[in-house]
Amino acid sequence: MLTDEVGKGATSASRPAYSADNPLRSGGSLIQLITPRGERISHPEFDVWVKDVSDEQLGSLYEDMTVIRRIDAEATALQRQGELALWPPLLGQEASQIGSSRALREDDFVFPSYRESGVAYVRGAELAEIAKVWRGNASYGWDPQRIKLATPQIIIGSQSLHATGYAMGIQHDGADSVVMAYFGDGATSEGDVSEAMVFAASFQAPVVFFCQNNHWAISEPVRLQSHVQIADRPNGFGIPSMRVDGNDVLAVLAATRVALDRARKGGGPTFIEAVTYRMGPHTTADDPTRYRDPNELEDWAAKDPIARLKALLDSKGLLTEQLEAKVQAKADAVAAEFRAGCIDMPDPAPLDVFNHVYSTPNSWIERQKDHYSRYLESFSGSAEEGAL
């Protein structure tokens, strides 16, 4: 449902290879194509990477962003109602997630963290599959191999290495797919992320490190992780980087295309810092009022990624009632499907606890499973026989 021309990762050999004064950086300034007020500004290097984005596609990006915000709201509501055990909101990060994932090809592979429900939606996860982990009905939702999206990763930074290894495999296969690794600003402090950069640089693996700098790691501001810009970090590993306005879907799309294109052509890894903001709590279990200045939220509300795209569409005369109605209908339908999928999800069976620990029979597991099933039977037995 979600692949369109943008989704097919249109890249063009005729586009200029990305370059800048510092071969490793696009300069210190933020790559931006749409201002917070919704004006399309031109960029000498990156315009060409989104030249093909039609009015219709702009609308489709708008739709996706609106839909995933709606999923987020629905999920938060479901958590409050006790239907989900937990939910990590993506509110505010819609442009980062849609802009980046829409640049991917189907055969690319994605290793997300836990917050990329929007990416999962774009990759083609079913809505119930997205809900499944957070309801507590499984540790995975979608089949990773089917939609080429790994399961949510909770150990911070861990997936950056998996992405690099997968990219080494692509290289080994002689394929031109690319791997995308998502992680947060906080994750950059974990040793694994640094080691991933070492390996990616050493083997020139086709991997894109996509860091959503949403300014917070639970209660910790990004400056605790780094005094300098996060986009500076990879350069010392020999990895080029871009710093992009993460609330600008076109800029994110352009930067991601640049990175994917480089990787596909054997140019190795790229690091993208998408500067955005976590407008909600860390998870539904978190209370950001304990650590965050409300003014900060206000500042960022003025840079809202959806409002900005909406303003652009409006200025272009594209924000028709028809479009609004279509998007609204889609969001409603998705929300309803998400809710139904969540609530109607069948509970697992008790003995599932023993399944799939190993791919082949294992004597320890078999024995414990046998003993526990006898134990469970002893209850029905006791009901019949009146004694435990």
């Binding site: 055990a85 937990l86 836990y114 982990v133 957070w134 309801r135 507590g136 009905n137 499984a138 540790s139 909770i154 150990i155 911070i156 906080g186 994750a187 402090s189 974990e190 040793g191 694994d192 790691a217 639970i218 209660s219 910790e220 605790l224 992780q225 279990a285 978190d286 304990r290 650590y291 509970d347 697992p348 008790p350 599932d352 606890v353 023993f354 620990v357 320890w364 597991i365 414990q368 003993h371 526990y372 006898r374 134990y375 039977e377 002893s378 004694a387 435990l388």
Partner: protein, 336 residues
């Protein structure tokens, strides 16, 4: 005496340690402004400053590794690992540095580091938030490992851990954080029960039931339920997991002749194995039956909709007591 939740009791103990020793420094992720995701360090940064209650970058090896350096300099770092499942990135620093430094330097460098770990399941969390990794550390020579089961011990033993010149892993049963209990905040450390000692929390004569951390409460409930059936169960709260106070367990088993051990961690290689093996060595001739282990299964901690099947509960423990007593139980009729 005051009535405190488990979390507040630890908080009070941390406060006391911060007050009494200027070398005590708390460090961890989100422990400062936020006061920790469980609020265990609530208010401490405000009262003791950002130098003594330190929000660290998001890197567990970094937290423990810098704590090693601080200990070298004479500090007593108290590190919080946010959840059990996040301790593994720090495993190398714990096992190869914290645990071995004193031996390596033949006592020249002490490692009075306390590592606080909220552990165990039962709170409906996603993956990596409900682990019971204690056996990795009890098998690591050079570490002391303790676990607390009630607010009073939580309050006292966190101070004992911090005061210890040896490194201590302090396992907090996170599903009990909100349980309340009486805490005597005036109790002197000097006269408190040594943190190496187990405690008989319920005397009994038919079977010995050993538990620690979150399952002590469950074990006591099981003993109450057993009493209704006329079975007298002695419950021991281990408190110290390394070293284990075997003399206390041994004395009980010599009396009862039956031993049941319960923990949330996976059975194979868990603490239950060590307890069963050691008690069998120490009082083979007193045992009337093989020690019984009622534990988590040999599976990764399951997703939350299944966790009640994985976690030992009152009924499974009673089934184990029946087995130890040779009474009818779920495995009756099975050989062995």
């Amino acid at each position: 005496m005051s009535t405190l939740t488990f979390a507040r009791a630890i908080n009070a103990g941390l406060r006391k340690s911060l007050e009494s020793d200027p070398k005590v420094v708390l460090m961890g992720e989100d422990i400062g402004t936020l006061g920790g995701v469980f609020r265990v360090t609530d208010g401490l940064q405000k009262d003791f400053g950002t130098h003594r209650v330190v929000d660290t970058p998001l890197a567990e090896s970094g937290i423990i590794g810098t704590a090693v350096g601080l200990a070298y300099r004479g500090y007593r770092p108290v590190c919080e690992i946010q959840f059990d499942g996040f301790i593994y990135p720090a495993f190398d620093q714990i096992v190869s540095q914290v645990a071995k430094m004193h031996y390596r330097t033949q006592g020249r460098v002490k490692m009075p580091i306390t590592i606080r770990v909220p552990f165990g399941g039962g709170i409906g969390s996603p993956e990596h938030h409900s682990e019971s990794p204690e056996a990795y550390f009890t098998h690591t020579s050079g570490l002391r490992v303790i676990s607390v089961s009630n607010p009073q011990d939580a309050y006292t033993m966190i101070q004992q851990a911090i005061a210890s010149d040896d490194p201590v892993l302090y396992f907090e049963p996170k599903r009990r954080y909100h349980d309340k209990g009486e805490v005597d905040e005036t109790a002197e450390l000097a006269t408190a029960l040594s943190m190496e000692k187990a405690r008989v929390v319920n005397t009994g004569s038919d079977a010995t039931l050993v538990a620690y951390g979150p399952l002590v409460k469950t074990a006591r409930d099981a003993a109450l339920a057993a009493a209704d059936e006329g079975i007298s169960v002695e419950v021991i709260d281990l408190r110290s997991l390394a070293p284990i106070d075997f003399p206390t367990v041994e004395a009980s088993v010599r009396k009862t002749g039956r031993l049941v051990i319960t923990h949330e961690a996976a059975q194979s290689g868990g603490l239950g194995a060590e307890i069963a093996a050691s008690i069998t060595e120490r009082c083979f001739n007193y045992l009337e039956a093989a020690p019984v282990r009622i534990t988590g299964f040999d599976v990764p901690y399951p997703y939350s909709k299944l966790e009640m099947h994985h976690l030992p509960d009152l009924d499974r423990i009673l089934d184990g007591v029946d087995r130890a007593l040779g009474r009818r139980n779920s495995l009756s009729g099975l050989e062995g």
